[in-house]
Subunit: 234 residues, 6 copies
C-alpha cells in the first residue's frame, strides 16, 4: 500500500521517518481516439504505482489536467494554461518539501506537459538539498526501443496506449493501419487544422496489437520508473 | 456511463449535441485523521457520479489538489497556493466553454476551497451565456440538517466523512467522542498550532457511526446535487 | 486618536514599542440600493474605529475597492479581480509585518470579499510568529443574532446597513417591505440577471427601521470587534 | 454632490446618461514627517473634489495604498508591490469602462506611484474609444511654478504638503529650514539609508509657511485639475 | 574588452573576484521616424560600452524589447506588457545577484521604460547589500543641458538620436524643422491618434544636425554614465 | 537588408503590404565554456539572418536572455524565470500580430528555452489566422544528422558551437576530447553539482574541429531555417 488513497497521515509521517521519496503522476484529460479520455491519467498513475509498490515508495494521486490546447476541437479535452500548469507543479513541490520530502519523481504521461521539465529544473536550482526528476515514461529511449521492437509506430492513442484499462467497452476499433502523421502539417496546425488532420484523433499506425506484445512495452516502462526510484538519485 | 474515464471524445461530442451540462468535482489530498488522505477527492467524485448517472450528465475527474495551508504540519497534505487554485478553475471553465459546455456544476468536497465560489462568480460575470454553480456538497443547509438528525457534530474527518470507501483497512478508530473544537483558538492557529490543537486531525465528536445512519446523510447529499443538476439553472 | 489619518510615523513608532496590533478595514464601492455607494467602506471603517479607539489600537484607512463582479450592471460599482484583491491583502500584510506588526485584524464589510479569509489563512501558514483574523463584522453569529432580534431579514442595503452615516440626504426610501430574495435564482445569476432580480438593488425586507433599534445591532458589531482585539489572539 | 460617498447607484446611472468622466484619486499611506500618514490621500482626494465639484464630475474614493518601498523603515508606511498596484488600476479602469465611463482622470498624490502613467498608456492603447490621463497634481509644470514663487524648495512632507487638513493637532514643527536633500545619496539608498539620510522624513526646506501663501499653490493645483477635466480631452 | 560578447565565464569569474559592478542596457525596438528601429538599443548599448570600457566594468547585452504600446500603429514596434517588462528586470537582477554582482547600473535608452525605476526601487528595498541605479541616459539634467546648447528641441527620433550608427543608408531626411509636438493632444492619444499626430514618427524640430554638434551631447551622456559607474554608489 | 536594425518603420510597413512573415531569434547569455557568453545569441541571430536574407524576410533582434537556472554557478549566466520568459514570447507575438504579422518563426538557440514550444502551441490555439513555429535550429533531425557525420558528439559549448564568431581572441582551448557527460548525474544535478560535473562548462567531446567541417553543419542549419520560411506553412 503505497498510494495516498490507501494511507492516512500517520502512516505517511511514519514513512517520512525512513524515506523522503515521492511520486507525482501527471496526466491530461483529452481525446485519445477511441480510447478513454483519461488514458494519460490512467497510464501515468498505473506505471507509477506498479513501479513504486515493490519499493514501498509513496505515490500521490495523478494530476488529471494538463496542457492540451491543440486538442481544443475535440470535446472532452479541457486544458490548463501553461502558467497555471507550471504553478501547480511548483506549489506541489513547495508544499511537499515543507512536509519533509526531498526526492521527487514526476511521472509524466502526456507529451504536451513537457514544459514541466523546465519548471523542475528551475525549482531544483533554488533548493540545494532537494532532487527532482521529470520523467515522461513513454518517451524515454528505453521504452521507445522496447516499443519499436513490437511495431515501428508507437504513437498517441494507437496500440501504444491501448490497454485493457484504457480501452472502452463496446467501442470497436478500425482494423487497418492509419497512414503516418504529416508532421510538417501538424507543426503549424491550430486546433481546427489538427482535427482536420487527425480525424479520429489517432496519430498513425495500428489501433491495437495483441495485449501480450504491448505488455512487453509496459513492462519496460514500469522497470525504468522503478530503476529511477531506486538509483536515479545523486 | 457518464464519467470521463468511461468515455471517448466521440461520445462526448454526441453528448454535447443534446446537453451542455458538466460536473467538475473538487477535492484536496490532506489529513483526515484516521481516514484516507483522499477522503475529499473520493467523496466529491462519488457524490457527483451518483447524482449525475441517472441523468446521464458528464462528470470530469476530480481535481485532487486544493487549498490546505493550515494542515502543513500533517504529512501528506500538499497544497496549492490560492492564486494557482483559482487559475486552475478559471482555465478549466474557459477551455470547457470553448468546447461547448454552458452549465457547470462544481461539486466541492473541501472547506478550504471556498474561494472557488468567488472565482465562479467572477467568471460568470464575463460569460453572459454561461451558468456556473459552486456547490460545497457537505455544507449545504440540507445536508447539515440531515447530518444533525444523526448526530449534533458532523465535522472534518469524523463520522461525517467515514464511509466504507474512505476508511482504511486495518486502521482502528478511537471509540470515545472527541471534545469539541476550540473555534476561537483554531481561528488564529498557524500550522503548528493547528496540529497541537487537533492532535489526530479530527475536529470533534464521534469517529464513526453505523453505516446505515451515515448513509442517510449521504443520500441527502446525492439528491441535492441531482436536484441542482436538474433544476438549479435559470 | 488611533486612526492613521490622525497620526504621524513617529507616533506609530512609539505605538509599536508597546503594541503590535493593527486593524485593516475592507470595503467595496458598490450599489447599496438607495444608500451611499460607500456604505461598506463607511461601516467597516467606523466599526473598526469605534472598537479600537478605547483600546488605543491603530486603525488603517479602509480599502475602498473590493470584489463585486455580480453588481456590474449597477453603475458606480467598480470591482477588482479576485487575484488583485488577494495580492493587495498579501502586500499590506507583508509590508506591515516588516514594520513590526504581528497581530492583524481585517475587518471586512462586504460579502464578496470572503476569499480574503483564504488569503489570510495561507499567509499565516508562512509566518509562524504572526496572527491574522479575517472578520466579516456583519455576518458573525453574534451580530446576526442581534439583528434577528430586531427583524428577521437583515440583508444587503436594507435597514441592516441603513444608518445616519450611510443614508443620503433627500433620498426617499420605499415604505413597504421588499419580497424575499429568490436565492436559487440569485445563485446562477450573471450581472444582467442580478439586476433583473434585484431591481433597486436591495435584497429583501424593510428599507429602514428606527435608528435606536438598528443601533443595538451596531453595538453588537462594535463589541465583537473589540473583543477580538482584546482577547481573540493566541 | 459629486463624490461617490454622497451618491447612490441611481444617481450615477442618471449622471452616466449625460456624462462619461470620472476622477480616481490615488494616494499612499506613508510617512510625511510631522504630518498625517494620510497626507497624500487627503490631498489627492481634496484636490479632485474641489476641482470636480463645480463641474459636477463624479469623484471616486481615494485609493489609500500605493508604492512606497523606500519608506519601509518608517512605521505606518505599508506598500503594495508594483504589479499589484498596476493591477488595481487596470481592474478599476476595466470595470468602470464596462459601466459606461469613457474619460478617466487619475489624480495622483504620490511620487512613488508614477508607474501608473505607464499602465494608463498601455490600457488606453487597447481601448480605442476611451481616454485616460494620469496626472500627478503636485508635480506639474504649473504647480511647481506656483510653488517656486512662494519658496524655492517645495518638497515631500515640508510646507508644500502642510495644510490645515494634513497637519496634526498638538504636533510641533521645527522652525529652522532643513538642509537640502543629497539627491545622489538618495538615488542609491535602500530603506535603512533613506532613514539615515532623512531622519524625520522631511526632504528639505521649510517645515511650514503661512497658510495664505500655500493656498496660492493649492489653488493652482485645483485649477489645473479642473482645466484637465474641462478641456484635457481629445 | 568589457562586453559579455567578448568574454567567457572564466573571465567573468575573475572579474567578480575584484569588482561587483555590472551594466544592463535597456532599449526598445520601435519606430524612430527615418532612423533605425533599433535606435534605442544601439544608443543604450553604445553609451554603456563607451562609458564602461575605460573602467573595465562588465556590460551585458542590451534588452532590445521594452514598453511602447503607444506606437502600436507603427509597424516594427513590438511591445512587452508592463508586468512582463518589470519581471524581466527583476529576474535579471535576482539571478545576477546570486552570481555575486552587487552594484547594478541600468542604462535606459527609451522613455516608455520609465517604470523600471520603480522596479529598481522596490528591488533594492529587499536587498540590503545591493545597490541599483536606473539611469535614463538621454533625459538627465546634464544631457538635456548639453543638448539645449546645441538646439532647443532635442526629442524622439530627431537630430538628438541621429548618429552615424542609427541612421540608415539611402534614406533621405526632411530638411525643414518639424512643428512642435502638441503635448496636450499627445497626452490623451491612443495608438491611432498618435500616428495621426506624429505622421512620420518624429516628435518635433530638426531631423539632423552636423555630427560634430551632436557628438558633444553624446559625450556628455557617456561621461555621466562613467561618473555614475565610478562614484554614483554609496 | 532584412534585419530590424537596418530598417525603419516605413520600410516595414511597405514589407507588410506584401508579406506577413517575421523571424524572432531566441538566445541566452550563459556559460559556453571557453566560448563567448553570447554564443547562443550570436548563433540564433546569425542563422536567422543568413536564412532570411535571400528571401527578404524580416528578422527581429535576438532576445538575449533565456532560461538557464542550471548554470547559476557559472558567473555571467543571468536567467529569466520560466513564467517571465513565456510572457515575453506571448507579448511579442501578441503585439506583432496587432501590427499585421501572421507567420512567426521563432529560431531558438538554447536548449533551456524549449518550453517556448508549448507557449507557441498555446498561443496559436487562440489565433485561428496565425501560424507560429518554434524551431530549435541546432537540435533538428537534419542538423543533428549533419553534425554526426562530422563527429559523434555535437554538444553544448564544444566544437558544435565553436565558430570564428563565437570563439574569443586569445583564449586557448584544450586539445584533448572531453569524456562523455554523465547524463544520469546531470539529470538530478542542481547548479552546484552541474559545476562539479562539467568543470569548464563544456559537456563532452572535442573542443574544436576544422572550420570547414563545422561549416557543413552550419550550412544544414541555415538551409533548414530557410526551408521552413519558404514552405513550412500551411
Amino acid at each position: 500500500m503505497t498510494r495516498a488513497r490507501e494511507l492516512n497521515w500517520m502512516q505517511v509521517e511514519e514513512y517520512l521517518s525512513r524515506d523522503d521519496r515521492v511520486v507525482l503522476p501527471l496526466g491530461s484529460t483529452e481525446q485519445h481516439g477511441y480510447l478513454s479520455l483519461e488514458t494519460d491519467n490512467i497510464l501515468a498513475e498505473r506505471v507509477s504505482a506498479e513501479a513504486a509498490e515493490p519499493l514501498g515508495v509513496l505515490v500521490l494521486p495523478v494530476l488529471p489536467y494538463g496542457l492540451t490546447p491543440s486538442f481544443a476541437s475535440y470535446p472532452g479535452s479541457p486544458t490548463l494554461r501553461l502558467e497555471t500548469f507550471l504553478s501547480v507543479l511548483r506549489d506541489l513541490l513547495d508544499s511537499l518539501y515543507v512536509q519533509g520530502f526531498r526526492r521527487f519523481l514526476l511521472v509524466n504521461g502526456h507529451g504536451g506537459n513537457i514544459s514541466g521539465q523546465s519548471l523542475v529544473r528551475e525549482w531544483v536550482a533554488a533548493q540545494p538539498d532537494a532532487q527532482a526528476i521529470f520523467h515522461s515514461w513513454w518517451s524515454s529511449t528505453r521504452v521507445q526501443a522496447a516499443a519499436k521492437e513490437v511495431d515501428p509506430e508507437p504513437s498517441h492513442a494507437n496500440w501504444f496506449e491501448n490497454f485493457p484499462w484504457t480501452r472502452l467497452q463496446g467501442v470497436e476499433l478500425p482494423q487497418e493501419r492509419k497512414a503516418p502523421l504529416d508532421e510538417a502539417a501538424y507543426r503549424v496546425a491550430g486546433p481546427r487544422q489538427v482535427r482536420e488532420l487527425l480525424g479520429d484523433g489517432v496519430f498513425e499506425g495500428a489501433y491495437e496489437l495483441p495485449d501480450e506484445q504491448v505488455a512487453r512495452v509496459w513492462q519496460a516502462g514500469v522497470e525504468e520508473v522503478r530503476d529511477l526510484l531506486e538509483s536515479g538519485w545523486r
